[in-house]
Each structure stands twice: as structure tokens, then as C-alpha cells.
Amino acid sequence: MAFDESHDLFRATCRRFAEEKIAPFCYEWEEAGEFPRELYRDAARAGILGAGYPEDLGGGGGDPLHALVGIEGLLHGGSSGVVASLCSHGIALPPILKMGSPEQQRRFVPPVLAGEQIAALAITEPGTGSDVASLTTRAVRDGTDYVISGSKLFITSGVRADLVSVLCRTGPDKHGGLTFFVVERGMPGFTVSRALEKTGWWASDTAELSFDEVRVPQANRIGEEGSGFVALMQNFQGERLALAFYGHATAELALQDALAYAKERSAFGRPLTGFQVTRHKLAAMATKVAAARTFNYRLAERVAAGEYLVGEVSMAKNFSAQIANEVCYDAVQIFGGMGFMRETRVERLSRDARLLPIGGGTSEIMNEIIAKSLGL
């Protein structure tokens, strides 16, 4: 599977959407900590939310590469937080699509792709993050229902989610005892305990969720009991590749801003680009962006073609996360004091980039996976 003109056109659609519908308001939304719900509907109408999803479920067809270039286009709005929440279905729906029954897919997927409902994925808990298989939120069978108890932390779109794909413990086996359930807003016992304040991704609503004996019908269990861990591992591949794309795209925006500023701003009687140290800094930044983008593109084509490349995906996520932080740091430096001001995009990009080596599996966990793929 390869990138072609349709990916360029789709990226352009997403970029235009971001420049017209996100960028002008993004400062306000970032400060407010969320964006209007209508944006989901607008994005659905513009054919953005459904990229890579089957048309019979309300998707836009296309392939996984369309969803990835969509992220690049949407980031032109200047807010990773908006993109993270707008696209939280990108991590919440795949378990339903992979393992859900046709009936469950028809029930849960179309309203989300139409922008009418918001979907979130809930894995992480107050007591466990990296060591996912140690999670303790329990789902206990009771007649034809399950009763879910526990809590989930750092859940993207969690404050507003209408449906949440929740990974629960259904059996004693560490990996084999995990199962996904869809918990819906309004189910008694399911509440948002708090909206969390963060370093970056401000416009994204991130929540702690509480499950106090939430009764969930068996019809909301996704796949067989015990099928959750494998589904999660597959889901991580998509999420990590997407985060790798956030990385190079974030760095690219910071580079563009820094280039423009360095040409415009002068000191000691010359533009900043008149200093070799600045030119070389920009050269190094551009090199990092190009290397990360090229690696991510090549890898995305292979993953989209069906290869299961756990080691490489972890490398891409780590490398992109790292260069994004380095490039944003340098961009802020080139902006000087202005780079520390909330009114500049590089200030926000530099805060948003900090999430990349943490979310979706930390750098340390990525390195463990890479080491394993090296036979260590």
C-alpha cells in the first residue's frame, strides 16, 4: 500500500478544515480547556472523522494512511489537544471493529463517525499505566449482565464521551483475563470524577472516570472473555504510529514558524538568519524533521499493507517524540522571549510535544519492546 494523490488531497481537505475551523479559535479553546461539540459534526460533514473506516458503517472508505495524513492536516489548526479529542475515536473504535459483532458495530460506530457521539478509550488506571496487564477495574458476571467497578485515569475525551471502550479484568490470568466493554454515558454508577489540568493538550478534555457497580449488558461485551489483551496490543500499533505522525508534524510546524521568525527578527543589525549558529540550528531541525517523516511514511506503508512491525513502530514513536521535543525546544529558543509567550504557536507546540514520549506507552516501554525485537 502506498501514498498517492488521494492522500495529498485528503491532507489538503483536513488542512483547510483546520485553518478555517480550528486555527482562528484555537487560542480561546485552549484557554477554555475544550472546544465546541459542533466541531465533531463539522468534521464528520467534511468527511474527516470517517477516514479509514468502512463506508457501510458511515465511514469514508480509504485506508489507514488517510487517517494518518489527516492528523498532519488537522495539526495545522495549531492545537494537538483539539486533534487528540476530535480523533479519540481513532483509538476507541478499533477494538469494536476488530472484535465486535456486526450488530455491535452497527450500533456503536455510525453515530461516532457522524460526529453525534464522542468515543474514548479507557485503559490506564490510577494504580497502573505502563504495566497495563496489572489493571484492576473488574467486570463480574451477574446473570446475563456484568457489573463493572474501578476507575480509569488520564482518559482523552473522557469528560464528554458518550461511549467508552473500557478494558476490564474478567479473570485471574494476568494477560488472558482482560476483556473490553463499551460503557455508555448515563449508565447508573458511571461518572466523571474530575477533569484534569495538564501541561499541554489543553483543548483536549482529559478525565478520571469512576465505575461504581455499573451494570452493563452482555451485548456490550466486545469479543470473547479474555480477548482484551491481544486486541489492546494491536490497537497500540495504530496509536503509536499515529503518535509518531503527531511528532513529525508538530516538529514541522515549529520549524516553519522558526524559519519565518528567524528571517524577520533582527538583532545586532542583521536578521537572526545572519548568524551561522541560527542557520545551523535550523539546518539540524530540518534534518530531524525530514528523517522522522521519511521513516514514518515508509513504515506506515508497510504497516498498512498488513505487516506486524512492533519493533519498528516503537522506534518510530520514540524517534518522532524525541525530535519533536528537540525541534520545539530549539524553535522556542529562536523566538527568544516571544517563544515563552502564550500568543505564539511554538509556545503551545513545545508544551504539547511533551506528551509524546509519555502517552500511548512511554519511551522506556518503547525501548523495552525494541530491545525485545533485537532478541535481548
Binding site: E5, S6, L9, A12, R45, G50, E55, G62
Partner: protein, 276 residues
């Protein structure tokens, strides 16, 4: 209704600061520029789509919308984008930008109109690069067709189009019989600006812009026909009659001054700027 929409690619106005003129001043250096369709031409495309649908079901075309551009191979991406936005088929006339001027473009369009026989040629009122605002008018003259320029609203009627044009001091209403040339202004994309004979009473577009090209349409656009013609075959005896003598960047803006009150402002406007 069959509508021919003429599109021109222009350097993205948002990064005009990348436009460079070499020291020789004999050309504009276009390396590294990002290209997009002239915004007014996109409004023309949106107008053509609205005139060939009922509004409620934008996937069903009542008639045909053909998009056309004159330019090098890369402009096919712009045409594909127009096809993804909803046009039915595309024509590219092979040419390099430097050999064109408004008159030559109008002659080439007239040739295509002879072959295609559209009911309407829909165009932007002008391009945002050279801003000559002449191709639509020259084309109407060559074809000896009625024309309505700067359309702000269009209503399809049994015997033609009723067009409202914004003019100084009000709105002029023009009725054109078909076939006709129409050029559009930006207000044409307002929710109720365009009514075809299929538009349902009271229908309002839920947006005020050119529609987005959604992914399914992008995928379908791969299969829509795109024909290629040669400028030299369409207009064998014609050459651009415009000669560019020298290019020069406008002088950089000088810093302004601050005045302390209205009185000083008025005085400076009168004695220094001499505008009042």
C-alpha cells in the same frame, strides 16, 4: 444544465512572502511556492455545483459540471481536487504559465466552449495573482454571449438566470438568457445565494464556504475522466500579446508615525498626505 467552470492555479496567497524575484528582474521565481486554485474560481465551482443539485442531496447532479484549467501537468492535482469536490469531469489544456495572457486564455476557452456547448461558463471575477479581471468579459465578447459579472446571487428561472451584482450604492439586478458567461464574487457562497430550479423552497445551505472534498469523493475522483488538450492545437495562430518588461518587488513598508490627537491627524492628512 451543463456548466463549464474555468479554474486557475495561483500561488497560495497565505505564503506570498515566499515569492522571490531574482536580481535580474526578468521573472518571478516560483520555486518552493505552494499552489492552490484561485479562491474566486473555487466560488465559481461551488456555484456550479449548487446550480446542478437540489441542495438536500449534493451527491445527485442535475446536469453536468465540467472543470477546466490551462497549465502544466502538476495542475492535474488541482483538477482532481475539483473533481473530488463534486465536478463530473475535467479538461487540462497543456501550457506553461509564462506563455499565457488573459486574451489568449479567453480564446482557448472559446474553443473549448465550441466543443463542449455548455449552458453557462462559470468563472471567478478575477484571479488573486495578476488581478486583471478580464478573461470572463473577453470570452463573452468572443462568443457574443450575454454576461453577468461579479454575481452575488443567482436564481435560475425558466428563461435564464437572474443575477444580483453588488455595485457602489446598491444591488443591480441583471437577467441573462442562456447560454451566458457569469463571473462570481465572494458572497455567492452564502447559504441562500444560489437557487437552481431543483432547489427546494426554503432550503438553506448549512455552510458559507466552498464545500469540503470528503474522502469517499476523493476516492471516486480517481476514476472520473480527465482529458488533455494542447494549447497550440486550440489556438495555433495566437501568442500572448502581453510583454513583461521587468519585475520588481513593491518597496517594503515604512514604519508609521503616532499622532497625539484627532486634530493633528486631520492636519497631517491635509498638509502632508494631501488626501483631504
Amino acid at each position: 444544465m451543463k456548466i463549464l467552470v474555468a479554474l486557475k492555479r495561483v500561488a497560495d496567497p497565505a505564503n506570498h512572502n515566499k515569492v522571490k524575484i531574482p536580481a535580474s528582474g526578468d521573472r518571478i521565481d516560483t520555486a518552493g511556492l505552494e499552489w492552490q486554485i484561485n479562491p474566486f474560481d473555487l466560488y465559481a465551482l461551488e456555484t456550479a455545483l449548487r446550480l446542478t443539485e437540489n441542495g438536500k442531496n449534493p451527491k445527485k447532479r442535475e446536469g453536468e459540471v465540467v472543470v477546466l484549467t490551462i497549465g502544466p501537468k502538476e495542475t492535474e492535482t488541482n483538477l482532481r481536487s475539483a473533481l473530488a469536490t463534486g465536478a463530473d469531469r475535467a479538461i487540462r489544456i497543456e501550457a506553461v504559465d509564462e506563455e499565457l495572457d488573459g486574451r489568449l486564455v479567453a480564446h482557448a476557452l472559446a474553443k473549448i466552449v465550441e466543443e463542449e456547448k455548455p449552458d453557462v461558463v462559470m468563472m471567478g471575477k478575477q484571479v488573486v495573482d495578476s488581478e486583471t479581471n478580464m478573461v470572463g468579459q473577453v470570452l463573452a465578447e468572443l462568443l457574443d454571449w450575454p454576461m453577468a459579472t461579479f454575481a452575488a446571487t443567482i436564481q435560475e428561472q425558466p428563461d435564464g438566470l437572474l443575477v444580483e451584482r453588488e455595485v457602489d450604492g446598491g444591488v443591480a439586478k441583471v437577467k441573462v438568457t442562456l447560454p451566458a458567461v457569469v463571473t462570481v464574487d465572494l458572497r455567492i457562497v452564502s447559504p441562500t445565494s444560489v437557487r437552481s430550479k431543483h432547489t427546494e423552497a426554503g432550503f438553506k445551505y448549512p455552510y458559507e464556504e466552498v464545500r469540503f472534498a470528503p474522502l469517499p469523493a476523493i476516492m471516486q475522483a480517481k476514476k472520473k475522466p480527465l482529458a488533455i488538450k494542447n494549447l497550440s492545437e486550440l489556438t495555433p495562430d495566437l501568442k500572448s500579446t502581453t510583454r513583461y518588461v521587468k519585475y520588481e518587488a513593491p518597496p517594503g513598508r515604512k514604519a508609521g508615525i503616532k499622532v497625539k490627537d484627532v486634530q493633528e491627524l486631520v492636519q497631517k492628512l491635509a498638509t502632508e498626505a494631501k488626501v483631504i
